[in-house]
Symmetry: C2
Subunit: 227 residues, 2 copies
């Protein structure tokens, strides 16, 4: 499904090189549930952005279903992302000028869903995440955890094949974090692929595979028996 | 030191009232180390913003050292905040157009610290938080946990009497989160007051008092024996 082949990402700061990723190789099969862990600055978000097609590697190959994605034109890449991928970013997740429900309806507009269906599905998703009472709030009028839940609803809007989530429960209390994980596990049971960056050992414990990063490289990659 | 007297905060959304806080009364003594917990949307950030003087209550009184703060002119309030308080917000913590070290030097400029001393202290604070190698990065060039650590360095810049931190370890892996907590405990031992919103039971376990919120009110307020 997803294959990274010796991927590197180097930023130039003046004449200093910052290697966010150096030589990462990875395969993710359809239906996997992988947690990505590692210290701050080890390259987790960078890895997720490249896997999700939001960022481009400086060297190495990225293949999606065997097709080299680096050769695809931008418009094609955007179309694949919109239809097949859902994202939850580490921050700055929502369009600040749109309400909660408008934010969730956004990806559906790209996928040409009819207006009535967009509104119905948007309200339903937000309601399932406990956000039914905040549909008309702007992001600035929502608490941190509420913004995070709206972002998750938006990631689910187009019923994606794969969800890439960067710290999706970072701003949520234990009980609400559990509800999010239950939702993700439910999707995984319907063979949605989940790749999730997390700092929380308890969250990683629910994945079937834990990839640990250090200094821009994969430090360990273990299958764990499903509990 | 800090006294909240029947504080309420109500937002108007058209003709719908959203009560973020309803009737909160609280006293915080100098040198306390309090954790604030509760579900998403229960009013923790709102409470912290009012206690820190960054937001104004719609009703009730707020007294600082027995002086009613709601009667102070804005400039006076800003001066107290700059000299005595340090803040770590839940997000959007840093000026996006300033580098890491410039962000940390900002509060020192307000407090009229000499340029050479600002640069020295800024570098020292960032170094103590493991950020010495990222002084010239802009926030957009930093990972989530790196941004959070720069925000903490900035909160410490003017050697404040009280630190108000909203999820300061939310984006950090366990080990780095522990280092932040060690720093905060060290400050508390020198009688810096710490008020910290957290979702993490382990983090709250290190405080001497746990305030739990629910639906805009204080649900419980317990002293715990220091471990
Ligand atoms: N500007 C605003 N206008 C309307 N409602 C608001 C505004 N700001 C906050 N709220 C509402 O007030 C409530 C409390 O918000 P607050 O940010 O204090 O919650 P919180 O406890 O910090 O939550 P979290 O754990 O998710 O960060 C939320 O339900 C939120 O929707
Ligand atoms: N645009 C950029 N320019 C320069 N350096 C960058 C840029 N973006 C990221 N970096 C650096 O790349 C490294 C990896 O960043 P990344 O965001 O992937 O880390 P992370 O593992 O997600 O960390 P965290 O757990 O703190 O979110 C960091 O050290 C960061 O400073
Ligand atoms: Mg990150
Ligand atoms: Mg909050």
């Amino acid at each position: 499904f997803i294959e990274l082949d010796d991927i590197s990402k180097v930023y130039m700061m003046g004449d200093v090189k910052v290697a966010a990723l150096s030589g990462v190789s990875l395969r993710i099969a359809r239906g996997e549930y992988a947690a990505v862990m590692g210290p701050s600055g080890s390259g987790k978000s960078t890895l997720l952005n490249i896997v999700g097609g939001l960022d481009v590697a400086t060297s190495g190959k990225y293949l999606l279903e065997g097709v080299e994605v680096t050769r695809l034109p931008d418009a094609e890449l955007a179309r694949i992302r919109c239809r097949h991928f859902g994202f939850v970013f580490q921050s700055y997740n929502l369009f600040p000028e749109l309400t909660a429900i408008e934010n969730v309806m956004m990806p559906m507009t790209y996928a040409r869903v009819a207006p009535a269906e967009r509104a119905r599905r948007g309200a339903e998703l937000l309601d399932s995440l406990g956000m039914g009472h905040r549909l008309r709030h702007l992001p600035s009028q929502l608490s941190g955890g509420e913004q995070q839940r709206v972002a998750i609803a938006r990631a689910l809007a187009n019923d994606p094949d794969a969800i890439f989530a960067d710290e999706p429960t970072g701003n949520l209390a234990t009980k609400q974090g559990q509800e999010i994980l239950d939702i993700l596990e439910g999707l995984n049971e319907r063979s949605v692929t989940i790749v999730m960056v997390t700092h929380d050992e308890k969250v990683a414990a629910r994945a079937s595979r834990v990839i640990t990063m250090r200094d821009g490289q994969i430090d360990s990659d273990r299958r764990v028996a499903a509990p």
